[in-house]
Subunit: 276 residues, 2 copies
């Protein structure tokens, strides 16, 4: 089914802002997916179609559903991907570098004239195999997003606050650690913020939850424009809520259809679950 | 060093209320510990000293410090313990059944005339070896407290909300799942509540954190007396904060000395870390 970091991200961020997608697909990419993305308002000017197959990932979740085991990965057209950004998109201020080879992330960032907020995601594979490239990129981003396991592996710290401090010292002013069913931890020099996940027993498919979270988070920030403590906290809450919809059904079944009203209603419910 | 569920519980609960301890110690129990407990205001009328050795536990924490590995356990006088409750204590309204053989917990509860709130804790050992006795006890308690692992094992559910619902169906009106560094999840028919832990990089010794949590939680409830949604939420926050002090140093080093003012100050800080 249709998936991928950028798509999950876009499904949530589109509720707040215009989303410009930079990505590569293969010749096999179904036309109906293009139509779907366009219909959702995603701007596809910088979507490249190359010779070869579209990236494909297959995974399974067991037990607490917090981590997927990869069954197969076919890189396809991703192997030779050089991101293209159209001239009129180079002035975009809010950049999410979804998980991919850090050299590709760096290349994309190099196209941008003067971004206001750059958020970087990665994964264990790059932490292991391209650690230096990743850490070099850290100097150029504002927020590094990681799951708890990635934060621990990269920093060598098992305590997450200590891991966040270590990551902060590598460059990014803000660190965002996603803990799956346990919520998120946000760290900056100015404040620490911790939010549980939306408590639910309806967990069907966590694939893309982290990217949906990032989409809600950045979407909200790009809408309010001012990056301050109270907006960051609210953005984290919107990200949490966006992710809670994503996991309730397979793929994009939920997030393709949800609205800002759905987010706001659940956010009000969520408040009652966490405020004292 | 001095430890044990009841003692850790008492150190936090004493900040809110008079704590009556029901327990057994051996002939080897140092007099200075008795003096210490008395000096902290703990009422020792129902503390029995028996022939034999005091219960002793030795454990180690590794990695994320969330679970201890037991190095050794010496039951000592606990093997033949029959809880004694003095006449004037039998009217006490707030009862915490700290982790011990469920038959002993049941025996103690049998002494009480008309408790208002009974909170039950247990552990994997009893879940495995005395499951039926434990589940029978469920019918007589108001709140069952478990850590995430215990909740999963007992219910057979990996999702914690589903686990809480299963546990609720066994009897207790309220379920409290402690998730260590990830905070707590509270479940009742009326509302769900989720609170992260106090974010800290100072984790020296988590032993007794769960009991300290329970002590702060129940201490606050017994002080305000009214068991309603808003008091329960505040009690969970006080429990969280009490536990955050416990883990900052070995044994009782922190909780023997902290004050209600310390709790309130950190609670105010905590609010800034979780409210949006």
């Amino acid at each position: 089914m249709l998936g991928g970091s950028a798509v999950h991200f876009a499904m949530a961020a589109r509720l707040f802002t215009k989303v410009n997608l930079v990505a590569v697909i293969g010749r096999d990419f179904p036309k109906k997916y293009i139509a779907f993305l366009r219909q959702k308002g995603i701007i596809l000017t910088s979507l490249i179609q190359s010779c070869g197959k579209t990236f494909k990932w297959e995974g399974a979740y067991r037990g607490d559903m917090n981590t997927a085991s990869t069954l197969s990965t076919e890189l396809g057209v991703l192997t030779a991907f050089r991101p293209f950004v159209s001239q009129e998109q180079r002035g975009i201020k809010y950049i999410f570098l979804a998980n991919i080879d850090p050299d590709i992330q760096r290349c994309l960032l190099g196209h941008m004239r003067s971004p206001k907020l750059v958020v970087l995601d990665s994964m264990n594979y790059w932490i292991r195999h391209k650690r230096r490239a990743l850490l070099r990129l850290f100097k150029k981003v504002d927020i590094y997003v990681a799951n708890d396991q990635e934060a621990r592996v990269l920093s060598g710290e098992s305590n997450l606050v200590r891991a966040a401090k270590w990551l902060r010292r590598q460059g990014p002013g803000m660190i965002l650690i996603k803990k799956g069913e346990h919520g998120v931890l946000f760290y900056s020099d100015k404040f620490i913020f911790s939010l549980p996940a939306y408590p639910t027993d309806k967990v069907i498919d966590p694939t893309g939850a982290g990217d949906t979270f990032a989409g809600g988070f950045m979407g909200y920030l790009s809408k309010v424009e001012k990056i301050n403590e109270s907006n960051l906290k609210k953005a984290l809450a919107f990200g949490t809520i966006a992710a809670s919809f994503n996991i309730e059904d397979f793929g994009l079944n939920k997030t393709a259809a949800f609205t800002i009203k759905d987010l706001e209603n659940r956010l009000a419910e969520f408040r009652k679950c966490v405020l004292f």
